[in-house]
């Protein structure tokens, strides 16, 4: 049993950590709160949660997460970034010189919908998931441009809001704020495949 359990970490420097842990556990994985870079050695996949990307990025630099997460990704281990996590994973951030992790081949715009009064929720169809997902967008970013290897999984008003590049998954909305765990199940499947090489357990 323990051998087969998927251990998925949630980067816990700031943001909606507990919600992701709950969603991951509902999706059949074991959720691990990651506060130290060394903990990356113990997990099979990583979620970078919503929060404030400037705060998360700053604390990642301070505590030596940048190199370690880049190596984690280099090893082919899946990473899922939601909202701030999407920004942190991007290679290019509009209006900002330096990216944070610079892993995923895309350009993103922060607060792309505007301020909090423009935040909203909606039903969003996602490629690979049967029925639409209830998607909560909070001061959400958008994906403006993507590289050739990035696959768009959903669009809202013709803007890209969910995408995947191999072992990297991003959403500009917050799947962790609802009781719908399908996107976490989707990610757990990515982690399972990367760990065992088999599609479904």
């Amino acid at each position: 049993m323990a051998e087969n359990t998927l251990k998925i970490g949630v980067l816990a420097l700031q943001g909606a950590v507990a919600e992701h842990i709950r969603s991951l556990e509902q999706a059949g994985a074991e959720g691990v709160i990651v506060k130290r870079a060394q903990q990356l050695d113990e997990i099979d996949g990583l979620v970078i949660p919503g929060g404030e990307s400037t705060t998360i990025g700053k604390l990642m630099r301070q505590y030596g997460f940048i190199d370690r997460i880049q190596a984690f990704s280099e090893a082919g281990k899946p990473i899922f970034g939601t909202c701030a996590g999407l920004i942190v994973l991007a290679k290019r951030i509009e209006g900002q010189e330096e990216p944070h992790l610079g892993l995923m081949d895309m350009t993103v715009t922060r607060n792309a919908f505007g301020r909090q009064r423009e935040s909203f929720e909606t039903d969003l169809p996602i490629k690979g998931i049967d029925e639409p997902v209830r998607a909560v967008f909070i001061r959400a970013p958008l994906i403006r441009e993507i590289g050739a290897d990035v696959e768009v999984l959903s669009v809202y008003n013709e803007e890209m809001v969910t995408a995947r590049e191999g072992h990297l998954l991003v959403s500009s909305f917050h799947p962790e704020l609802t009781d719908d765990y399908r996107l976490h199940e989707y990610f757990a499947d990515m982690v399972r495949q990367s760990k065992t090489g088999e599609p479904k357990g």
Partner: protein
């Protein structure tokens, strides 16, 4: 597409968790706060300790200050309206602030009614010193709570009292039998339905931050240890000798509130924190926490 739903409003506060929200009085301070890792800033005309010193009626900030701050930072901007002052809140909403604090730090505009927060698209944070207050504010539509503490004193004792009381009361409600909940709802002055929700889930339905007296990194960490979801720092930062260093230290101590070596490191050579006031020295009329009900 639906805007301003309770999920969208409460969710915004969820994204602040583990973070520090800092009071700022101008664009320059806002930039320092953002660079130090604040998850949001509270744009004010005066910090609580200055309000305390100045006396008189404290009101919503000049919109110029709020707009200036909104222009220079990319993190959320909050601003304070007086308790019960519907129009100040509407004005702040029209400016596009991300969160409104219906705050006892300002002089209340209504001694009986708080703002009906349900109808706003912008979420509200409100102060509470016990579970009854917390649930009444949620009933009116608050999407985030904070302890009242005693603002502008640099003394953590009241914030500790309020956090412990609220969490203790939640534990008690959780252990009541269902038939006892009716009487408890009456005692607390809240609806049975909202109390039943606490009884079943054993926690508040919204994020609860610490506020009112946080003056050092260790104070922030103490509040996290007691179960706060994050920390508001008012007068503490820009009343200290080295605001930049101080702000960074509070952010780190909040993230790693159980790493005492780290808190020791970041607490070194911070210079003098704000002087602080013994709560017993305050005249009852000077207690901000007694504003609101």
């Amino acid at each position: 597409m639906e805007a301003g739903t309770s999920r969208v409003k409460r969710g915004m506060a969820e994204m602040q968790k583990g973070g520090v929200i800092m009071d700022v009085m101008n664009a320059e301070q806002a930039k320092i706060a953002e660079a130090a890792g604040a998850t949001a800033v509270m744009a004010l005309e005066r910090v609580p300790s200055d309000i305390r010193a100045a006396g008189g009626v404290a009101r919503m900030a000049d919109p110029t200050i709020v707009e200036e701050v909104m222009k220079v930072v990319s993190i959320p901007v909050m601003a304070k309206a007086r308790i019960g002052h519907y129009v100040e809140a509407k004005v702040l909403e029209s400016l596009g602030v991300d969160y409104i604090d219906e705050s006892e730090v300002l002089t209340p505009a209504d001694e009986v009614f708080h703002i009906d927060k349900q109808e706003f698209t912008i979420p509200f944070v409100c102060g509470a010193k016990d579970l009854g207050e917390a649930l009444r504010r949620i009933g009116e539509g608050a999407s985030m709570l904070r302890t009242k503490g005693e603002p502008g004193t640099g003394n953590i004792v009241e914030a500790v009292r309020h956090m412990r009381l609220i969490n203790g009361q939640i534990r008690r409600v959780k252990n009541l039998s269902k038939d006892e909940l009716y009487a408890e709802a009456k005692n607390l002055g809240v609806s049975y339905e909202i109390l039943l929700d606490i009884h079943e889930k054993g926690k508040l339905p919204v994020v609860n931050f610490a506020a009112g007296g946080v003056a050092t990194p260790a104070d922030a960490a103490l509040m996290m240890h007691l179960g706060a979801d994050g920390v508001f720092v008012g007068s503490g930062i820009f009343k200290s000798d080295n605001p930049e260093k101080f702000a960074r230290a509070i952010v780190e101590a909040t993230t790693h509130y159980d790493d005492y070596r780290l808190i020791a490191e970041v607490s070194k050579d911070l210079g003098a924190p704000m002087k602080g006031i013994d709560i017993k020295q305050l005249h009852p009329s000077e207690r901000m926490q007694d504003r609101g009900w």
